[in-house]
């Protein structure tokens, strides 16, 4: 018996040694240096963009009331900040509502299409087709259906974003490794529990990719809809910009363009980009050593 114990102890030691050797992980760089390395290239790019803009202004390609320079736009942005933020609030509320609805609808459609052969051959290509159709083409019909209301804009946002979200989920489910499904079956996961514990988490990285793309579509659709469907009393930034244009106030127009660009980038990067990276790192889809 003593020899068996000894043997078991030496087995444990050997295994522990092998485990220690094989599980060495290079430490990730500190938060500070990661933030810095993510931020400085963007600052540089922004600086270059402003410089190019200034060069266009200096070239007198168009009179400077049509293309005002940074020196006119940035002070104006500062002065109008309150007004613009009020409009941003209205627009973002529409974005959040529309996008939430798009997630609900896109997820439901995606799950059904991925699981049903008939739905798939019928609606699979329709979903992709909807993605290629510019959602601004839905605006006139939406105005007909919902009149000039928030519902019109929400509808266009949903039409723009839901197909990407559905497609993300469908491709995520399609790409689950067969061995993962088998493992789920062996462990006794069936029906709803298989969907909840195996299919959905396995498809999550692609689903989040779909959300990221869906957001880009939602943001475009939203602005397009706001430019066309002017809803009285509820001034979003799209409408604010259209008003400025009607008064040939191009300084105001460019101010709002900058705000639109910044919101798009910040939401895409800070929310969806980070969620995407966080999930891919958890799933082991990012190799830190390879610097990806």
């Amino acid at each position: 018996m003593a020899t068996l114990d000894l043997r078991e102890r030496s087995l444990r030691t050997e295994l522990a040694g092998l485990d220690a050797l094989e599980s060495m992980v290079a430490p990730r760089p500190s938060l500070h240096s990661r933030v810095w390395s993510a931020v400085w290239p963007k600052c540089l790019a922004a600086g270059i963009a402003v410089l190019l803009w200034q060069i266009v202004v200096w070239s007198h390609f168009r009179p400077d009331y049509v293309i005002p320079g940074p020196a006119k736009v940035f002070p104006r942005l500062y002065d109008d900040f309150g007004t613009i933020m009020d409009a941003v609030g209205i627009t973002m509320w529409r974005a959040v509502q529309g996008f939430a609805l798009a997630i609900l609808i896109g997820t439901a459609v995606g799950a059904l299409v991925a699981h049903n052969r008939v739905l798939r051959s019928g609606f699979g290509s329709l979903v992709t087709g909807l993605m290629t159709m510019p959602s601004v083409a839905w605006v006139p019909l939406a105005i007909g259906i919902f009149q000039l209301s928030d519902a019109t804009i929400r509808f266009v946002v949903v039409i723009g974003a839901a197909p990407s979200i559905a497609n993300g989920l469908i491709s995520g489910i399609d790409n689950i490794q067969p061995v993962i499904r088998r493992a789920g079956r062996v462990l006794g996961a069936h029906g709803w529990s298989a969907f909840r514990h195996v299919t959905l988490p396995a498809a999550l990285p692609a689903f989040v990719g779909g959300l990221k793309q869906g957001w880009a579509f939602a943001w475009r659709s939203l602005l397009a809809a706001e430019l066309i469907a002017l809803i009285p009393g509820k001034l979003g930034i799209g409408q604010l910009m259209e008003n400025d244009r009607q008064f040939t106030d191009y300084t105001g127009v460019i101010c709002i363009m900058i705000v639109i660009l910044i919101i798009g980038i910040v939401v895409d990067e800070a929310i969806f980009g980070n969620a995407n990276r966080w999930i891919r790192r958890r799933y082991g889809l990012i190799d830190d050593a390879a610097g990806a």
């Binding site: 444990r12 092998l18 485990d19 094989e22 599980s23 462990l187 195996v198 988490p201 799933y283 082991g284």
Partner: protein
């Protein structure tokens, strides 16, 4: 799972817990039917460690799928008393869960409550010597460690019969040797019946109470070799090497038959 249980025949007490009787498995239909197994009969005793050995196309995986209830035989019957669990060549861990999460999910799917899940998962990870790696995710573990987590997850199913499909085939020799020791220890500590599929003759002799040699295309039982060597064994033992050599000779004869045709 209900339909799968129906396919299994309940047995009289005392009978072998795993019985494969004249099983034929054919894939495809009349014109281009491919026979995978041809009249395979096998009886495995309680607590026995049986290694199924064969070259490619011997239907090893088909046989395991039948035993696991993932597939049905075309003819004949497969009877397994109690629960089975299946281990793959890839650990097939869920990458979104930690080592602990993987083991706990197996317990959860059996309807075990949260508190008991925690203690049982800790015990099981301790059993495979990975207690302190419980919060690591699969991609942070080595191949051998992943396979041990998969083993803990399989044990979490509280199965009576553990089916293993070339589980150490993708590991380096050193890790494999250690896992042989580990598996032998676990098997001796529990009352598990093990069906272990491999194409590595030495591994089969190192681990099995009995080595069943399957011929290829279609799979048939070609020969059986009892392994009456004392445990614990080592893969480099002379007795293991000698028996492996004679089984290899036999295996090569089986493979050579396909070269003549």
């Amino acid at each position: 799972m209900i339909e799968l249980h129906e396919a299994r025949v309940a047995s009289a007490p005392g009978a072998a817990p795993v019985r494969v009787d004249n099983v034929v498995k054919v894939y495809g239909h009349a014109g281009n039917a491919v026979p995978a197994l041809d009249r395979v009969s096998l009886s495995i005793g309680r607590g026995e460690f049986v290694c199924l050995l064969g070259a490619s196309g011997c239907g090893k995986s088909t046989l395991l799928n039948l035993l696991a209830g993932l597939d049905r035989p075309t003819q004949g019957s497969v009877a397994v008393d109690g629960r089975t669990s299946l281990l793959f060549q890839e650990a097939a861990l869920f990458p979104w869960l930690t080592a602990r999460g993987n083991v706990e999910l197996a317990l959860k799917l059996r309807g075990i409550g949260r508190r008991e899940r925690r203690t049982r998962a800790s015990d099981l990870l301790g059993l495979v010597n990975l207690a302190e790696f419980d919060r690591k995710r699969p991609h942070e573990l080595s191949g051998g460690m992943r396979q041990r987590v998969a083993l803990a997850r399989a044990l979490a199913q509280d199965a009576d019969v553990l089916l293993m499909d070339e589980p150490f085939g993708a590991l380096d020799a050193m890790t494999r040797d250690l896992l042989h020791d580990e598996l032998e220890r676990l098997w001796q500590e529990t009352a598990l019946t093990v069906v272990f599929v491999t194409h590595n003759v030495r591994e089969a002799v190192r681990l099995g109470d009995r080595v069943v040699l399957l011929s290829s295309r279609p799979g048939r039982v070609a020969a059986e070799f009892p392994v009456d060597l004392p445990r614990p064994r080592r893969i480099e033992d002379h007795a293991v090497a000698d028996l492996a050599a004679s089984i290899t000779t036999r295996l090569r004869e089986e493979v050579a038959r396909h070269g003549d045709a």
